[in-house]
């Protein structure tokens, strides 16, 4: 990566992968990469497992390095939710700086059942970070437990990092194609919902009423409760506007806040709605984007029965 090429108007996301031979090699490569970036005076952000992060800090210090938030939901995590979170953090960082270099590393603890989390995360990052002057380098194992992790990494990265230089990746494919061809990222099934409600376009106020009633009981303050009502309204509206005339909402009241799912029988053409803020002139697509900003988790998936969205919000 050359510092002199960094001209904000022309630079977009550069997303590269570097394969390693195992945990020890991963740490070595992370330390080497971080050291080089800091020496070049780049703003560095880390999204790596805790042991890798500690090794980096020991070797190059913590000055000028930002730790990105750790995604929650090990084993059942949502790659698109993590990507939305990263986009939010990085957008704030680049506003105050020319650009950011990001070092990511694979963490098998987040693989879930098949490693699909990583495929979805990298594809979603390609969508969510596309317009940001950000260089992202991801460290992936050359021999992962789940083949999906290797195949996803090969398809999602525009560049291969070889010997400190970027090479075009011939296997790179656009995120929509990657996501459309893989199995739906169905999250782990939850128990029976506390509340189920079928609704149509004229009954959205009933959906809002359910959330507005539940939210204070779950510890949401009035402002957060209003935001939550808005978030659920937008997802529920999308289901009956673009999905099917009738949709269904399931609500779970949990100790960790509100979980809800919206199911419609329609087909979603855009595999990852709401990952980027729509252009101000575009009347569509803003609702889901705002809902993603307001929820701790917003996971969209499709299968033969239709389109589904799960949301989780903590007080």
């Amino acid at each position: 990566m050359k510092v002199e090429t960094r001209v904000p108007e022309t630079i977009r996301l550069r997303h590269a992968v570097q394969f390693h031979d195992g945990p020890v090699d991963q740490v070595d490569r992370a330390v080497e990469f971080a050291g080089a970036a800091v020496r070049r005076g780049e703003r560095l952000a880390l999204a790596v497992p805790a042991d890798v992060e500690q090794a980096v800090f020991r070797a190059v210090g913590e000055a000028g390095i930002v730790s990105l938030a750790t995604p929650s939901g090990a084993g059942g995590g949502s790659g698109q939710t993590t990507a939305a979170l990263r986009a939010r953090e990085l957008r704030a960082l680049v506003q105050s700086d020319a650009g950011v270099t990001v070092l990511c590393a694979h963490d098998p603890a987040l693989d879930g059942v098949d490693g699909g989390y990583w495929t979805e995360l990298d594809a979603a990052l390609n969508v969510a970070l596309g317009d940001l002057p950000v260089d992202v380098v991801c460290l992936y194992p050359g021999f992962p437990l789940h083949l999906e992790v290797l195949e996803g990494a090969q398809a999602n990265h525009q560049y291969l990092m070889v010997g400190g230089a970027l090479q075009e990746n011939p296997r790179h494919r656009c995120p929509q194609v990657v996501l459309r061809e893989r199995d739906p990222s169905t999250p782990l099934v939850l128990g029976p919902p506390d509340l189920t409600h079928r609704y149509n376009s004229w009954q959205l106020h009933e959906v809002r009423g359910l959330v507005a009633t539940l939210a204070p009981e779950l510890g949401f303050d009035p402002v957060r409760a209003e935001d939550l009502v808005l978030a659920v309204n937008e997802v529920a509206t999308n289901a009956v506007e673009h999905g099917s005339p009738q949709a269904e909402i399931h609500l779970w009241a949990t100790a960790a806040g509100l979980v809800c799912e919206v199911h419609d029988t329609g087909e979603l053409t855009e595999p990852l709605p709401g990952m980027v803020a729509p252009h101000p002139a575009d009347p569509r697509g803003r609702g889901i984007w705002i809902a993603r900003q307001l929820c701790d988790l917003l996971h969209v998936w499709r299968d033969r029965t239709g389109t589904h969205v799960r949301m989780h919000a903590t007080p």
């Binding site: 809002r208 808005l230 937008e234 509206t237 009956v240 009347p283 803003r286 609702g287």
Partner: protein, 305 residues
Amino acid sequence: MVEQQRITVERVQVRTAEDLGSGDHACAVPVSDEGLWELTARFLASGLARNEKVVYFDDGTSERVLDRLTEDRMPIAGALRSGQLQVVPAEVTRGAFRSPVGDVRALLHSYVDGSVTQGWTGFRMTGQMSYGATTPAGIPLQAYDRALDEVVVDRGLTALCLYDHTHYSDDQIEQMRGVHREELGAPAAYDDGLLRITQTARSAVRLAGEADHSNRPMIHRIIAEALDRALRAADAETDIELNLASLRFLDVAGAVALVHAAEEFPSSHRLVLTDVRPAVLRVLDRCGAPFAAQLSVREARVGHE
């Protein structure tokens, strides 16, 4: 011939809540909850403005009525403190309908006596009387209404009886309509039970309730109409005002519609959103309202009074 014409004129003339004065006893049938709050608040507010004693017989509805008065910028805290505005608790309202008609007549006389002693210029009352329609004492609501009418004539008070569809059946409404001499009109440009739109001036419109996917086209239409009126009249204001004091929910597409509408205005005109509630303000902020040059957003004043 002359006689007939006079009757026709009387029937066509529909008075509003502000027109009612001493000796008037009218009914009204609001088409929606928002219409009910609006009408009640207007009736009470005009009594406060005339320095009358104003009494609301509550039955679970006073909170929304007081909210609406605040949204209408009526300084109610002072009126509640001084006793000019009195909310009669639900137990008392219900208790009246468990009492003989004579007791209720005496109760009303005592209220009027009290207002005279306190030096108010008059006495007006309304409230949520639907408990009476269930005839808990076996006495029809009409009998209580007759007693009220006697006191109205006798003592010159002002009474508005409200029969809304949420609390009364269609049959009950028709019966009560039949025993009132006058029914008030409360015209709205649009009212679907969720969103109520009223025109408050030539280029000012007020939205009350909730705006979502089900009534989205109305937002565009109402702004276009207000703009059209302003453009056609040479001396009209160049600000199109949308009062959002009583708009409790606005979805993202609705907020985007407002921002886009303002951006499409001719450069001579502005869209001004007034008394915007905090939740609605946050949605507008997230939808680019701060960057729309021809859109002005004014927050609701914080706190009552």
